[in-house]
Structure formats: C-alpha cells, structure tokens
C-alpha cells in the first residue's frame, strides 16, 4: 500500500486518497454504463439506464423485483447482450458476447442461484474452464494450493478437495467468491448473495466484502435487504420498472428514502392490530419427524402463529410433515377435534390445509404453464364435472383472484415465468386461497419479493386471519413476524425453545431463543 513504489495499481490506494487527489479523475470510474436498453419481445426490461461504478467502492443496486437489476447484471456479466447504449469498462467500450469474455476482462458475477457443480470438488468448481495442466495432465497440487490461498483470503480453512455438496450454503457462497477473486476480477457483481445465509454467515460475508474493497476491488451488490445495503454500500443506485431512478451517497440515504425511490411511494412495515381468535382448529402433540422432535402447539381460528428460527431449525420440515409432504415418525395431529395423518399433500388439501412452499422456483411454480393454470391447479378437480374442466368456473376464479390480489399481468395465458417474483408469489397465494382452506401454512411468503408486493402480502395475511383462517407463518424476517403474529414459536435445531406472546416480542428475545439459549425471564 505504499505509494511511489513504481506503477502501483490505483485500486491499492485507499480510496479516500484517490478521491482527494483526483489525479485519476477520468479513470476513477471502473465501469460506466450509459443509455443501456434491453428488450425481450415487446417487454422493455431496461430503458436507457445509467450506472457508474467507482474504483474500489461497494455500490448497491436496489429495486423491486422486475426493476431490471438482474437484466443489467446479466448484460455486465456477458450472459445477455444489450440492444442499445454503451458500457465502458476500465475506459474501454465493451460488449461481451459470453460470460467468459467478461471474466477475461476482469468482471466476475456471482449469480443469485449459485451455479455450482455439486458432485465436483472445490478446486474443480473454482477452476472449471481454466484448469491448469501440464501436457494435458491436471496439476491438482498447484491448484489445491492456490484454492486454499484464495479461501484463506476469505478467512476460511477447508479442504479444497471437499465436494461442494458436502458444504453448507454459506461455504458454497464463499467458494463462489473465491472463484471470482481467483480470476483476478476487478469488479465483482453479487446478486442477492445472502438470501439464504444466516445472520452470522452474513456477517462473515460483509467482512469479506470489506477486505475485497480494501484490496481495491469494486463490488456491485444487488439486494433487497435495505438495512444491509445502508451498512456496507458507499453508494446506492435505484432502478424502478427498468428505469434509472437515482444514485445516493450513503450519507444522504435512509431506508425511507430508498423505499420511496424504489416504489415511488412511502411504505412502512406498520404493526397490524391483532385480530380476534376463536376455537383451536389444529392441535399438535409430541410430533417427531426427520428434522424435528417433540413438537407441541395449538393454532386457533383467526390466529397468526409465527415460527422463527435460524436456517436448519426444522421449521420447513415441520410444515411439510403437517402437510403430508414428508413422513411423520410419531405424535398426534388433531384437526377440528379429529386425529388426522396425511399420506400425501392431496389428502391434506382435501382436509382443509394449504401450504405455500418455501422455494417458489422449485416447489411452487410451473414455469412454462400459463398463469391461469398455475393459479387454478389445486382447485381444478373441484371445478370439473366428470373430470372435464368447467371453463366458465375457471375463468371466474382466475379473474376474481387476479383482481383481488392485484396481480399485474398482460394476459393470463402467458407463462407464469413472465411475471416478476412478487406477482408470481401472489399467483401461488391465490392458488391456495382458491381451495378455501381452514389452515394456511406460509413458508417464507415474502422471500425474494419486492417491497410493494410484500406490503400487499402482509395485508392479505392480516385479512385472511380476520376472516377466521388459522395461519402458520414461517419467516426469517423478525420485523414481519412481530408486525403480524399473535404468538411466535421459536425453534432451534428441531425443538421448540420458546413461545412468545405479543407483549413479549422483541428481536433480542427471539434471537436468544433461536440461538438455543433458554429464556431468562427477568
């Protein structure tokens, strides 16, 4: 980091120095995108957007789902090509045709869904496509050493020969970052890097980002989590509906300000008043399963019962078992006074249960099928006579629910994959309400959903409870649980560690229980 020792890479200066001196005014921006436009058929995904990334800064890119962030990142990373506009990287005009070209120029993109080869080891994943060989023989030892070095830069000591499928999600994330820095990337794009990380794992990621920044690497950080954005980003750019809205310095930014830029209006996670509850509709006693033990709780009509816990607490597994998707080992489930046990989701649905699954992409949507079918699939048999679909009924239900949930779409014949994440989630929520359930299980209903759709979903949850549904609400976001729930059950490694009622809610208390500490009631 000593200046004046020959041609040192400008990134190695502390960035304050660069800014103050201003001796690299023109080159202080590593990436400048101007007037970038991208169309998919008739849809304009990006409309003349701008983006300027300074050398060595952490630049957050925020916006609702469908705002065009991922499209922009895909263009920068060479996954797709722009239709119009210019992008200059390191002062040179670039137009990457393949991700490889972007990598060779010094841009690495870590995609939202990790794209790894689970059955191969860390070395292969880091060096895939550019394996070091000696007359065709792979130089395992050399690469293992280098891989270990990259990993230790990230504060990680794991055996580079370990297979990816034996790593935790956070470690996989680190391997992706190791891969990015091993390409000598000057610009690393992280698309929602911590959507599946726990709090402590996120902390480590932030430390890593901090270290990378100190080495002069620029980072584009795409995220929905505004608290984090405010913590780690130097500047924040907002996109809305494919358009550039503005860029804020961290000092002038606030959650409220960013949200207003993202949605064009003020949104707050206001607390919803707790509605009246009725008789117990579901009682669970001593339930044991693969990933949870001795679960006992009851759910009343009109109650929103929250489930909090860290990743691996067994909440989703419990929900799946209740819904008949996974087997139950022992214990009792009593639905409206009758003991039940479901061997398949189909049976659970006909008994009055509905479950919005944890992962929308792999567990909920039929990507290439039309919106109407994604919405009506669970009720299709009830809307049929002798197995023949009654199209009038289907049309009525589809129209009713797309209006009720204000689902933004061109035509319900279009595939659901043409919708933004938030609208997809609303379609799935509509699917479950269309079966008129008694009990609705929501597993991370706002995961990967934009701010506007989130607020809509909260309102629906609150309304549904008021209409008398019993709701099990699993979430990793404590504010939303505290805003909506009557009670919150906290789980840790498959067991219930505490039940909090509304007047006992606090993030500290939930975290303490989620971390496995018994509660000290003072």
């Amino acid at each position: 980091m000593k200046a004046g020792r020959g041609p040192v890479h400008p990134g190695l200066f502390p960035k304050e120095t660069i800014m103050r001196k201003g001796f690299m005014d023109r080159a202080s921006e590593i990436l400048v995108a101007e007037g970038v436009t991208k169309r998919f058929g008739g849809l304009v995904a990006l409309d003349e957007v701008h983006l300027q990334i300074r050398r060595g800064e952490v630049h957050a890119l925020v916006g609702e789902n469908g705002a065009g962030k991922s499209t922009m990142m895909n263009i920068i990373g060479g996954v797709i090509r722009r239709d119009e506009g210019s992008i200059r990287f390191e002062g040179k005009e670039v137009d990457f045709a393949t991700p490889m070209e972007a990598i060779d120029s010094g841009i690495a993109v870590i995609h939202q869904e990790l794209s790894m080869m689970p059955d191969l080891n860390i070395i292969e994943n880091v060096y895939m496509g550019r394996m070091e060989t000696h007359y065709g023989r792979i130089m395992w030892d050399v690469m293992a050493k280098k891989t270990a070095q990259q990993l230790s830069r990230l504060g990680l000591t794991i055996d580079p020969y370990k297979k990816i499928n034996r790593l935790t999600t956070s470690h996989r994330q680190m391997v992706e970052i190791a891969k990015a820095i091993s390409t000598n990337a000057q610009l690393i794009v992280m698309d929602e890097p911590n959507s599946s990380l726990t709090e402590s794992e996120s902390e480590r990621l932030f430390t890593v980002i901090d270290n990378l920044q100190k080495e002069g690497i620029s980072i584009i950080y795409v995220s929905h989590k505004l608290d984090e954005v405010l913590r780690i980003a130097d500047r924040i750019t907002t996109f809305r509906d494919g358009q550039y809205v503005g860029t804020l310095e961290r000092s002038e930014a606030s959650v409220k300000k960013i949200i207003r830029m993202m949605v064009g209006r003020d949104v707050e996670v206001c607390s919803y008043p707790a509605g009246k509850t009725g008789d117990p509709v579901l009682q669970v006693r001593g339930l044991n399963g693969q990933m949870f033990q001795d679960i006992t709780f009851s759910l009343k009509r009109g109650e929103i019962l929250g489930f909090s816990g860290l990743v691996g607490a067994g909440r989703s597994e419990l929900a799946r078992a209740l819904f008949g998707a996974d087997p139950v080992m022992s214990g009792e489930v009593i639905l409206e006074g009758r003991p039940v046990s479901f061997s398949s989701p189909q049976k659970a649905i006909s008994a009055g249960l509905a479950m919005l699954a944890e992962d929308r992409k792999t567990q909920s949507i039929f990507p290439n099928l039309p919106i109407w079918m994604n919405l009506s699939i669970s009720r299709l048999s009830q809307m049929s006579r002798y197995g023949v679909v009654d199209w009038k009924k289907v049309a009525r239900i589809v129209n009713e629910y797309t209006a009720k949930f204000s689902i933004k779409m061109g035509n319900n014949q279009h595939p659901i994959s043409s919708l933004s994440g938030g609208n997809q989630q609303k379609v799935i929520l509509a699917r479950w309400l269309a079966v008129n359930p008694q009990i609705l299980i929501l597993d991370e209903p706002t995961h990967g959903v934009d701010v506007g759709a989130k607020a809509d979903i909260y309102t629906f949850i609150h309304q549904l409870a008021a209409e008398g549904l019993g709701i099990i609400f699993i979430s990793s976001e404590m504010p939303e649980l505290m805003a909506l729930c009557h009670r919150i059950i906290v789980m840790h490694e498959g067991s219930i560690t505490g039940v909090l009622s509304r007047d006992e809610f606090s993030e500290e208390r939930i975290m303490t229980l989620a971390a496995g500490y018994a509660e000290q009631t003072v």
């Binding site: 998707a325 398949s344 699954a357 099928l369 079918m373 699939i377 299709l380 197995g387 679909v389 079966v435």
Partner: protein, 330 residues
C-alpha cells in the same frame, strides 16, 4: 358503430392468428405444407388419391402410439417398450385365435395385456422410482421375449409369424370406408378425442403440471402416481390397438413387428414440439410430425432413392426440427 365492431373482430382474428403463429406446431405445419408442395411438383404420382391414403395409412400406427408417447414425454418420461408391446399384444391375440379361442375373448385379452404391461411400466416408474428409460428398456426386452414365447409351438419351433384371418382385425388394419382406410379414421378419431382430453380434463392438465414441475405438482395436490401410471397404461393400450392395425394390414402377427418403431414414434413426437424434459407438447403436433416423416419416406419410394439416404434424412430432420425450435426462441 359498425366500424368499431368489425375493428374488434379483426383484432380478435389477428390475435388468434398471432397465437397460432407463435406455437411450434405452426412452424412444423409450414414445413409439412412445404414438403407437400415440393413432392407434388417432384412426382406426378404423389397427389394421386391412392398414394395419399397409403401415406396416411402408413403413418396411422405411428400416430396412434404417438398419442400415448406425447403424454409420456409431457410428463418428462420416455417409453422405449412401445414397439415390443405392439408385437406382443398382436401375437397374444393371434395365438389365442389360432388356438380356437373366440375373438370376443381374444381381442379384449390383447388389449388387456397392452394395458397391463403399460401399467407395470407406470407402477415401477411412479411407485418404485426406477427411471423411465431403464424401466421401459427392460420392458422392451421382456415384451419381445414374450412375443417369441407366444409364437412358439406353432408348426414346430419358434414361428416367425402367425397368420390372422379374423374379419374384425383385418377390417381394423386393412379395411376401407369408401376410399378412406379404416386405420386413418381410427387415428383421426383418437387424435381428436385425446387432444380434447389433454386440454379439457383435470387429468389432462395434470399431465402438463407433472412434467413442468414434479415437486410443485405433488405439493399442489396432484396425485402424481395416478397421473404417471395413467399415461403409461394408456400408451400400452394404444400400442395394443396399433398391434391389431399392423396385424390386420399384413394379415399376420409377426415376431419382429414394431422393431425400431420407438425411434419413429419418439422422432415424430419431438418434431411436433414435445420436449424430452417434459411440460411441453401437443398431440396435433405429434401427428404433424408423423405426417412429415411419412411424406419423407413416401418421397424416397416415389423418387426411387436408396434406403440409406432415407434413413440419414430422417435422422437429420429430427435434429433439425429441435434445433430450429431452439434457434427460434433466441
């Protein structure tokens, strides 16, 4: 006012046209029309009524089995045993008839065997979880073996075929209604019925759901075992019908009937827009695919080209059809 009404109507028509034009079937249909025009210019015999009906009759067995295979492919599966089931069901019926068992028993028994073998495929795949490729590869061999078994004991050792004289079977496979071969009528009726079925019944829509996202289908309350067993069972039954059509056309049930047929059927279905990864495809598409293959085969006969050119061309067409669809999406 009049103007507005006609404006709406024309925009509706335009919309319908855009919708039809955007389907893969439409592109494949254009290819079919193009081939048709080329052939009618290239050979004076092509447009003769008899040639056209021969062509249709030749594709009818592929079309009938293609209905089932389309559904199998939509669920994301595959069925390699179809040719062997075609052979074994026909042989089973022929053997029973040869033994003097009345046709009222022998013919339904053949269908029953077809449904049964299909159901075994479906149950092994859905319940036990053996991949469709392996399950039906096994069944391909088992059913072929059974065909030889049913053929043995007729005039000595293994008979290569058993003659069929039953009037009903001859009519199913070789009869005519006026100038139209019965097998063509059968194919057209079944295509209409099952295209309607796929679009308008719960089970039909669940076939698509299963292929589009299996886990989501299960969590949405689709009985995935039922759907999967259904498509393979139906395919078995359709193979049995194709077996009768084949036996009726040739007046004999042959041990080598349907050898290599899986290539033709799967190719036709894939040309018609179905995807091996599931969730996509239509029966109309499969029939157009079968027609394209039939015209190409017909062309080589009429133009006196050697067989190897035909085989190479068919292979190219399959790959090009899928490649064209992929390129069109970009």
């Amino acid at each position: 006012m009049d103007q507005t009404a006609s404006g709406i109507e024309s925009s509706w028509l335009r919309k319908q046209f855009t919708r039809i034009r955007s389907t893969q079937e439409f592109v494949v249909f254009l290819v079919l029309v193009l081939l048709f025009i080329i052939m009618s210019l290239a050979s004076p015999y092509f447009l003769k009524t008899q040639n056209l009906f021969n062509l249709l009759r030749n594709m009818s067995t592929i079309g009938v089995v293609g209905i089932g295979i389309t559904m199998v492919l939509i669920t994301g599966g595959v069925d390699l045993s179809l040719g062997s089931i075609v052979a074994v069901t026909a042989m089973f019926t022929a053997r029973m008839l040869w033994m003097g068992i009345p046709s009222l028993v022998a013919i339904p028994a053949g269908f029953l065997l077809g449904f049964l073998l299909g159901a075994v495929n479906g149950l092994v795949i859905a319940k036990v979880g053996v991949p469709p490729f392996i399950t039906t590869l096994g069944m391909m061999s088992i059913a072929r073996g059974l065909t030889y078994l049913f053929a043995t004991g007729v005039k000595g050792a293994v008979a290569s075929n058993i003659g069929v004289t039953n009037g009903f079977i001859l009519a199913v496979g070789g009869g005519y209604l006026g100038v139209v071969p019965n097998s063509v009528i059968e194919m057209v009726l079944l295509v209409i019925i099952f295209q309607w079925f796929l679009n308008n019944t719960t089970l039909g829509r669940q076939v698509y759901a299963l292929g589009s996202n299996r886990e989501a289908a299960r969590l949405s309350g689709v009985n995935i075992v039922k759907v999967e067993v259904f498509v393979y069972t139906l395919t078995g039954g359709l193979c049995a019908l194709a077996g009768l059509m084949y036996a009726g056309l040739l007046s004999t049930a042959a041990t080598n009937a349907g050898v290599g047929m899986e290539m033709d059927v799967i190719a036709a279905v894939v040309i018609g827009g179905a995807s091996l990864s599931g969730g996509k495809g239509t029966i109309i598409g499969a029939v157009i695919g079968a027609a394209i293959m039939a015209i190409i085969k017909n062309a080589f006969v009429l133009l006196h080209l050697p067989t190897f050119v035909q085989t190479i061309t068919l292979g190219l067409v399959v790959v090009l059809a899928v490649a064209a669809d992929n390129l069109r999406k970009d």
